[in-house]
C-alpha cells in the first residue's frame, strides 16, 4: 500500500482507497478513478510535479498533493498491464 505519489514511472497499481474527506477532487472520481481501478503512473513532469497517470483508457494530469491522498496497491495482480521490465 503506497500513495500514488510514490509510484515509479511505468509502475502499475490498483487503487485501494481514496480519501474524499481529505479533499480528493470529486472530479477525479467522476473520471472513474474509484477503488479497484488499475492505473499506471506514466511520468512525472520535468519539474517533478504534476504527474501523468493513465486509467480507464485516458491520460490525466494531477498534482502530487492530490496523488498523496490516493492509496494504491502495487502488489495487486494487474494481468493485462504488467509494468514493462527495464
Amino acid at each position: 500500500m503506497t500513495p500514488l505519489s510514490q509510484l515509479l514511472p511505468g509502475q502499475f497499481g490498483k487503487l485501494a482507497s481514496l480519501n474524499p474527506e481529505r479533499g480528493v477532487d470529486q472530479r477525479l472520481m467522476a473520471l472513474g478513478l474509484l477503488p479497484g481501478m488499475v492505473l499506471k503512473l506514466i511520468r512525472r513532469a520535468p519539474l517533478g510535479d504534476p504527474l501523468a497517470i493513465e486509467f480507464g483508457g485516458q491520460v490525466v494530469s494531477l498534482r502530487l498533493a492530490e496523488a498523496e491522498n490516493l492509496i494504491v496497491d502495487v502488489s495487486a495482480d494487474c494481468p493485462i498491464q504488467r509494468p514493462r521490465q527495464p
Binding site: 481514496l18 474524499p20 474527506e21 479533499g23 477532487d25 470529486q26 472530479r27 477525479l28 472520481m29 467522476a30 473520471l31 472513474g32 474509484l34 477503488p35 506514466i42 511520468r43 512525472r44 513532469a45 520535468p46 519539474l47 517533478g48 510535479d49 504534476p50 501523468a52 480507464g56 483508457g57 485516458q58 491520460v59 490525466v60 494530469s61 494531477l62 498534482r63 498533493a65 492530490e66
Partner: protein, 717 residues
C-alpha cells in the same frame, strides 16, 4: 436566422473535448470555435438546427463538463441550462449527450447523471472515425436497448458523417419522449435522497426534484443549496444524518454517486464494445519525446523560439509586398493633389501612412495565429500546461490558469473569458488580473518595428528573435511575482487541485486552423478600418494644424542661402513642432523623459491608451507628416534611425538609442493600453475595482520598468 418552430429547445451536453462544438457547427451551419483541449467553449451559444424533415429547433452549444457536481462558472452554465434556472430560459425539450466513442464508460457517467433529470435524451457516439481506427466496434442497438430505448447514433462530426442520423434521432427523441434508463440506488441511499429532498422542500417551500436532491446530498460545493435558498443552518443537520445513513450502508458519501453510476454502467456496457485489430494511438510515443524529462523543456523552448523566429522569416516577403503596395498607392494618390497640400497630407501621411504602417503587420499576425492554431489543435497545449504547471503552482496559480495565460499571448479578451473554467473565484480573479500581462498579438507590431529598425540592423537577425522572445517573457516575468503576492498575501487563495485530461494528439485540421486564422485576420483588418483609422486621422490633424504661413517665412528668412530642399525640410519640422500635437507632446514629454522618450514617442504612447497597436501608425504619422508621396517604404525606419535630440542635455545624440528602444518595448510589454481588456476585466470580475486596479498597477509598473531599463542601459552603452 429563422425562428424555430414550436420553440423547441435542444441542448448539447457532454464531456470536454468530445466534439460538441464541432457537432453544433455541423448541425447549424454556424462557426463556433473548436480546439483540441478541454475547455474551449466557456459560454452558451445557440443556433437553429433543421431536423431533416423541415422541423426546426433551437440548439444550444454548452461548455464541457465531467460531472453535474459542477464547481466552475462554465460548468454552472450547463447546470443552469439543463434545469432552466436562468431567467427567461426554458428547460431543454431534449438533451443530446455527445460522447467520445473511444471512452464510453467515462463519458456515460455524465449521461447517467443527466438521465436522472428525466429529460428525453439522444446519445451521440462521436469521433467514430477514431474508434474505428483503433479497431473498436460498438453495438449501438444493444446499447440503445440497455439504456431503455433512447436513440444511440454514431457520428464523425468533423467529417460530417452521421449528421443526418443525429438530426433524425433528435426528432425521434422529441416525438417519443423516451427517457434514459436510470440507475437503481441502493435502498439506504434512496432513503437518504428522499430525506434530503423532503427536508429541503419543507424548509424552502419550493418543489425539489430528485435530481436536485442528489446534488444536495452528494456535492461538496453548496451551489444547489444556495440556489434553492436552503441555508446552512437549515440543511446542516439533515445532510449530516443523511450522509451518515449512506456511510452506514457501506458507501463513502462523497464517492457513493460515482460508485453507483459506474457499477451500473459497467453492466450496461457489458458486450457493447468489442476490440478488434486496430492501430493503438501514437500519443504515448509522442509524449515520450515531448514530455521527456530533459528533452521536453528543451523542445518546448525550441518550439517557442522557432515559432517567433519563423514569424519574422516567413512574413518578410509578404510584408515587403504590402509595403510596396502602400507606397504605390501613395504615388498614385499624392501627385494629382499637389495643388491641395492639406488634402494631400491627410491622404498620404495620415491615412495611407498611418493605416499602412499598421497593415504591414498583417502577415505576421496571420502566421502568429496559424501557429497558435496548430499548437491548439494538435493537442500540445495541454502538454505545455503539464510541463509548466510547477511554475504556476509555485506562485499560487491554478494549473487551469495555464490555458488562459497561454491564450493571452494571442489576445487578452478571449483568455479573460476562458478563466471561467477555474472553480475557485479567488484563483479566477488572480488569473484574470495577470492575463493582461501576457504579450498579446497587439504588442507584436511595436516589437517587430523596433527589432526590424534597430535590433536587426545593429546586431544581426539572430538577435531579432532573441529580443522578440525576451519581450514575450517580460510580461510573464512580472506576472509571476504579481500572482504570488495576489494569491498568497492579498486574496489568500487555497491551493487548488489540478486535474487535466491530456487529449490525444491529432493532425491539426487545416479547416479549423485556417478558419481561426482568417477570423483573427478579419478582426485585425477591421480594426485598421475603424479604431486605427479614427485615431490616425485625429493624430494627423493634431500634428498638421495650426499651419501658419508666418512659420515658413521665418524659416526662409533665417536661412537665405540654404538650398530649397533644406528649407523645406526645416519648415516641415517647424510646422510639426508648433502643431497642437507638438505643443501637447512637449508639455507632457517630461513625464516620459526618464524613459528616454522624445515628444513624438510621448504622443504615440498617449494615443495608444485605447489600443496599443496605434503606436505604429502614430509613429508613422508623426515621422512622415509633410513628406507626402516622397515617403518610401524605408522612410519610417530611416526617419526613426536618423532622429536626433535637438535640444536639452542629450542634444545631437540619437533618440532611438538602444536604451530608448528597449525601454519603449518594455513599456509596451507592461502598460495597460487596451480599452476592451479593461471593460472585459470589469465584466468578469464583477466591478470596476479590479479593472481600475489593473490599469493603475500595470501603467505604473510599465513606467518604472521602462525607466529602470533606460537608466541602466544608457549607462552601459
Amino acid at each position: 436566422m429563422s425562428t424555430p418552430d414550436a420553440g423547441l429547445l435542444v441542448a448539447l451536453v457532454g464531456n470536454p473535448n468530445t466534439g460538441k462544438s464541432t457537432l453544433f457547427n455541423a448541425l447549424t451551419g454556424l462557426r463556433q470555435r473548436v480546439g483540441n483541449y478541454p475547455g474551449v467553449t466557456v459560454a452558451r451559444k445557440s443556433g437553429t438546427c433543421d431536423l431533416g424533415d423541415g422541423q426546426k429547433v433551437e440548439l444550444v452549444d454548452l461548455p464541457g463538463l465531467y460531472s453535474l457536481a459542477a464547481a466552475s462558472p462554465d460548468e454552472q452554465v450547463v447546470i443552469d441550462a439543463l434545469s432552466g434556472n436562468i431567467a427567461g430560459d426554458r428547460r431543454p425539450d431534449a438533451v443530446v449527450l455527445v460522447v467520445d466513442s473511444t471512452n464510453l464508460l467515462r463519458n456515460l457517467f455524465l449521461a447517467s447523471q443527466v438521465a436522472e433529470l428525466g429529460r428525453p435524451v439522444v446519445i451521440v457516439l462521436n469521433q467514430a472515425d477514431v474508434a474505428k481506427e483503433q479497431g473498436l466496434r460498438i453495438d449501438t442497438e444493444l446499447l440503445s436497448r440497455r439504456l431503455g430505448g433512447v436513440p444511440v447514433v454514431m457520428s464523425s462530426a468533423w467529417k460530417g458523417e452521421g449528421i443526418l442520423d443525429v438530426r433524425r434521432a433528435i426528432a425521434s427523441a422529441v416525438a417519443n419522449q423516451t427517457p434514459m434508463k436510470r440507475v437503481a440506488w441502493p435502498t439506504n441511499i434512496a432513503a437518504a435522497l428522499t430525506d434530503v429532498a423532503t427536508a429541503a422542500a419543507a424548509d424552502t417551500g419550493k418543489p425539489v426534484t430528485e435530481a436536485e436532491g442528489q446534488r444536495l446530498l452528494f456535492d461538496t460545493n453548496p451551489s444547489t443549496a444556495d440556489r434553492l435558498g436552503w441555508t446552512l443552518a437549515q440543511r446542516d443537520k439533515t445532510l449530516r444524518s443523511a450522509r451518515d445513513r449512506v456511510r452506514n450502508s457501506g458507501y463513502n458519501p462523497m464517492a457513493a454517486e460515482p460508485l453507483v453510476h459506474y457499477a451500473h454502467l459497467r453492466i450496461i456496457l457489458e458486450g457493447v464494445v468489442t476490440e478488434g485489430a486496430g492501430k493503438a494511438g501514437r500519443s504515448a510515443a509522442v509524449d515520450r519525446l515531448l514530455l521527456h524529462r530533459f528533452l521536453g523543456p528543451v523542445l518546448f523552448l525550441g518550439i517557442m523560439l522557432g515559432f517567433f523566429g519563423s514569424v519574422f522569416w516567413l512574413a518578410k516577403f509578404p510584408m515587403a509586398w504590402i509595403q510596396s503596395g502602400v507606397d504605390w498607392t501613395k504615388t498614385i494618390v499624392a501627385p494629382p493633389l499637389d495643388a491641395y497640400p492639406m488634402l494631400q497630407s491627410l491622404l498620404a501621411d495620415g491615412i495611407i501612412g498611418g493605416v499602412g504602417a499598421f497593415l504591414v503587420f498583417l502577415p505576421q499576425i496571420l502566421i502568429l495565429f496559424l501557429f497558435i492554431g496548430i499548437l491548439e489543435d494538435s493537442g500540445y497545449m495541454a502538454r505545455a500546461a503539464f510541463i509548466m504547471d510547477r511554475l504556476f503552482s509555485w506562485c499560487g496559480l491554478n494549473g487551469k490558469s495555464f490555458v488562459p495565460l497561454l491564450s493571452g499571448f494571442a489576445c487578452a479578451i478571449p483568455s479573460l473569458l476562458s478563466t471561467r473554467t477555474i472553480e475557485d473565484p479567488k484563483a479566477r480573479l488572480a488569473t484574470a488580473f495577470v492575463v493582461p500581462f501576457m504579450s498579446c498579438s497587439a504588442r507584436f507590431p511595436i516589437y517587430a518595428l523596433m527589432c526590424a529598425a534597430f535590433i536587426g540592423p545593429l546586431y544581426g537577425p539572430g538577435w531579432e528573435s532573441v529580443v522578440m522572445v525576451g519581450m514575450h517573457c517580460v510580461g510573464l516575468f512580472f506576472a509571476v511575482p504579481t500572482a504570488f503576492v495576489l494569491t498568497r498575501l492579498v486574496l489568500k487563495v487555497k491551493p487548488q487541485p489540478f486535474v487535466l485530461e491530456l487529449p490525444r494528439y491529432q493532425m491539426p485540421k487545416p479547416r479549423d486552423v485556417l478558419w481561426r486564422m482568417w477570423q483573427n485576420a478579419a478582426e485585425f483588418v477591421s480594426k485598421a478600418g475603424t479604431v486605427i483609422f479614427a485615431i490616425t486621422i485625429i493624430v494627423w490633424a493634431l500634428s498638421y494644424f495650426p499651419r501658419d504661413a508666418s512659420v515658413a517665412e521665418r524659416i526662409k528668412a533665417s536661412n537665405p542661402t540654404a538650398a530649397e530642399e533644406v528649407v523645406k525640410a526645416k519648415t516641415q519640422a517647424a510646422y510639426v513642432e508648433q502643431s497642437y500635437m507638438g505643443r501637447f507632446g512637449k508639455a507632457v514629454q517630461p513625464v516620459f523623459d526618464p524613459l528616454g522618450f522624445d515628444w513624438k514617442i510621448t504622443v504615440g504612447v498617449l494615443a495608444s491608451f485605447p489600443a496599443r497597436e496605434v503606436i505604429v501608425s502614430t509613429l508613422g504619422v508623426t515621422y512622415s507628416v509633410g513628406e507626402g508621396a516622397k515617403a518610401d517604404s524605408q522612410h519610417l525606419r530611416k526617419a526613426m534611425q536618423d532622429a536626433k535630440w535637438s535640444e536639452g542635455p542629450r542634444a545631437g545624440s540619437p533618440i532611438f538609442s538602444l536604451a530608448a528602444v528597449l525601454a519603449l518595448m518594455v513599456f509596451f510589454a507592461l502598460c495597460s493600453q487596451c480599452g476592451p481588456t479593461i471593460a472585459t476585466l470589469a465584466q468578469e470580475t464583477g466591478g470596476w475595482k479590479w479593472a481600475a486596479g489593473s490599469f493603475v498597477y500595470m501603467t505604473a509598473l510599465a513606467w518604472l520598468a521602462g525607466t529602470a531599463v533606460y537608466q541602466v542601459v544608457i549607462r552601459l552603452t
